[in-house]
């Protein structure tokens, strides 16, 4: 086993291998809902402070400090407050939240309840992706079990605080994973992101203060309460603390979800945990954190997987779910597949993303088909510049970054397509 992670003991996935790990019985046998009980003995401010000190950063992709987000919820307002759980995991390459929902839903519920208590919410909504029908059924059962056991509902564990948890199944739109798109969808409207400011912490669901947190983020919370912020902050590099679920996919021998500390090296992840590339082929490129993150080349994989390091390297940590591509992969085609996804998922609200994503997709397909010209590559880069930063939500950026990343990192391969008027990899290694 590699040195950096040798001493790490998984916490989030600890019981997931057990039979019936999704049931309340198994969860409680392993200390479940003890964190909720001890959280209720603290004040909400103490919980927020605890999470702030732990350095927990949102696991949904943006890496915003969770405690700070909770702290933005105004105090002394008579409006109700809401906690929304973002279980709309729809980033291509990400499948870590799904695992939590399926294998340990009570961990998510406990985190949700502690978070709700911290921000003063008495209603939490779990917004789950439409395609997660199986996970939705498990979650629904878990909520029911928790309600019967007195963890959800009125006067939780005999305290004066009550909290209801409601699950809402989305209809399978990527954009509903954007926090304000999610809120709109929860309100029964078209899932269109809102203009910000105001931010959801002030004006969110039904016009009330709202916190939207990712599933994995909330799953970390009970452990922080149980083990203390020092424990959490001690895992991984500075400012990028904690355990992390890495979802490894693509050309690896053993794809899957691995719980490791933040900051594990990408090479280690691929070669130790993913057991290398099939046929011992070289890694050509890796999309480090889900489809919206710019690709990194195979010779750049000696990199720490955390928010700050990957941002410095010109990519993004995203959801921490690398997609590995070996040398049989056509990078133009990979770029096109990504662009096609974003063109399909663009909500259509604001101009640059609606029109630009379709344009990117067409340009990439033209090059892949061997009809490309050199100026198309310039146009492609210019279109990504024209989208980036000019849209309402981050989907525009999320579509522009990968296209630009592919075109910049694999410019030679793009030019080869253009020169040879065909895809040089088409059929060559199939």
């Amino acid at each position: 086993m590699p040195t950096a992670t040798a001493t790490f003991e998984p916490v989030i996935t600890k019981t997931m291998h057990l039979e019936d790990s999704h049931t309340l019985g198994v969860y409680r046998k392993h200390g479940g809902y003890e964190a909720l009980a001890s959280a209720l003995e603290k004040t909400p401010d103490e919980i927020i402070d605890l999470v702030k000190r732990s350095g927990l950063r949102g696991r949904g992709g943006a890496g915003f400090p969770t405690g700070t987000k909770w702290g933005f919820v105004p105090k002394g307002t008579d409006k109700p407050k809401y906690m929304c759980v973002n279980a709309d995991e729809s980033e291509p390459g990400a499948f870590k939240d799904r695992l939590i929902c399926a294998k340990d839903p009570h961990q998510l519920l406990e985190g949700t309840l502690i978070g709700s208590y911290a921000i003063g919410a008495s209603r939490a909504y779990i917004y789950i992706r439409g395609e997660f029908a199986h996970e939705a059924r498990i979650l629904e059962r878990a909520i029911q079990e928790a309600r019967e056991a007195g963890f959800v509902g009125k006067n939780i564990l005999g305290s004066p605080w009550s909290c209801e948890v409601t699950m809402y199944v989305g209809a399978g739109a990527y954009i509903c994973g954007e926090e304000t798109g999610l809120i709109e969808s929860l309100e029964g409207k078209r899932g269109w992101p809102r203009l910000k400011p105001p931010f959801p912490a002030v004006v969110g669901l039904f016009g009330c203060p709202t916190v939207v947190n990712n599933v994995e983020t909330l799953a970390c919370v009970p452990h922080i309460v149980n083990r203390g912020w020092e424990w959490f902050a001690g895992i991984g590099p500075e400012r990028n603390a904690g355990p992390k679920l890495y979802g490894l996919s693509g050309h690896v021998n053993k794809p899957g979800v691995f719980e490791l500390p933040m900051g594990v090296s990408l090479r280690e992840l691929i070669y130790e945990y993913g057991e290398g590339v099939p046929g011992d082929r070289p890694v050509k490129g890796v999309i480090p954190g889900g489809a919206s993150c710019p690709v990194i080349r195979g010779d750049e994989i000696d990199i720490q997987m955390d928010f700050d390091t990957l941002t410095r390297a010109g990519s993004l940590f995203g959801t921490g779910t690398p997609i590995v591509m070996d040398d049989t992969t056509c990078m133009v085609r990979a770029a096109w597949i990504t662009a096609r996804f974003f063109a399909h998922e663009s909500c259509g609200q604001c101009t640059p993303c609606r029109e630009g994503c379709g344009w990117l997709q067409r340009l990439l397909w033209k090059i892949e088909e061997g009809r490309g010209e050199e100026k198309d590559l310039d146009t492609l880069l210019s279109v990504t510049d024209q989208i980036e930063g000019n849209t309402i939500c981050a989907l525009g950026d999320a579509a522009a970054w990968p296209a630009r990343g592919f075109a910049k990192k694999y410019r030679d391969e793009f030019l080869l397509h253009i020169r040879e008027k065909r895809c040089p990899l088409d059929g060559a290694l199939a």
Partner: protein, 423 residues
Amino acid sequence: MAQVKVKFDGREISVEKGTNLIEAAKLAGIFVPHFCYHPGLPVVGVCRICLCELEGRPKLVAGCATSVEEGMHVITRSKKVADARRAVMEFLLIHHPLDCPMCDKGGECTLQDYTMLLGPSRSRFQFEKLTWPEEDVGGKLVLNKNRCILCMRCVNLCKDVAGLDEIAVLNRGEQTFIGTVDGRMIENELAGNIADICPVGALTSKDFRFKARPWELTNVSSVCPHCSKGCNIVVGFHARRNEILRNTARTNMDVNQWWICDRGRGGFHHVHDEKRLTAPARRGDKGYQGVSWNEALLEISASLRDIILRHGARAVGVLGSGTLTNEEQYLTRAVFRDGLGITHIDFPRRPQPEVRYAKFTIEGDKDPNARGALLCGVAPVQSGLGVRDMVRAAAEGTIKALLFLRGAPSPIPRAGCSASARF
């Protein structure tokens, strides 16, 4: 409300707190382009053409959705802003058919204007454009989705001003389109405003379509005469053809804000109606026969004099109108009541049910100058008869002559009434 000091491209102005950058820039004499923003509609911030730079902020902000703050320095003329706006223009035009020569909006199209002002003159988009068939969306509008830039003004007008979800955004991505719910028609009576506020030729007025180019029209400020609301309108008059071709809304915050109803919008067609009485005519055994003004006036005055001499002034009834101007009301009284001593003088009321929309009411009182008529004394005096009694008395023969000053009840009472004249 509190004032804040802000700078636009170095020009400092003082504006009310909460004003957005587009409106504040206007006060500074700076134009910020906008498609989706309309002062009478909710801010949606979707078109992105109003992007402005704020000093010290890395990202551009939407001018429509950003409020001024004390000490803010807004930059509208940097390269960054120009690039972003040109980018938006290029994006908006990639699927646009560029069919200005046959588009009804040509000449008053915001997209056309901004292309001249900001846009790239050539497109780098070299793919097949998305196309859609033209669609009938209701009695007054035609939808051409090819030209649509999805600014949402139409959707928000129906939702916010009319309070009805009759038109919506459907589908997503570049396949997003504006459409009616289940192909139903837009039936609200404010829908005509959509043609006014659509910044492109996507939703055009069936009534005005292909009648003329907007630059051929002489636009005359006027007031709609069709109900007591008195909406401010612009009458589009084609001088060469001597024809009114359309009415559009004219902003008056105290009366109609930015909107007019479709009755007023179409309320000019009677002017050119072939049944309209434009010259004197005499009804005889063979129907109506044209006569000269001179002949008509002589005959009317002679019969009036004759009737008054033989039967007295109480044998004549005058039906005025609540649609006449104050001057006309005064003359009605001066000539008939004061001059000829006629006591049966009144005007008909033509109320209709009021139509209330979320932010606009079509008044039920269809006599816009009823108050003027009353103040000028167009009312029965000395136990004179009202409208209904006059008509009955005319039918019975007690009243020998009825004068209608604007339109007449249908059918015109005949039996026993030897003369009736309408003007």
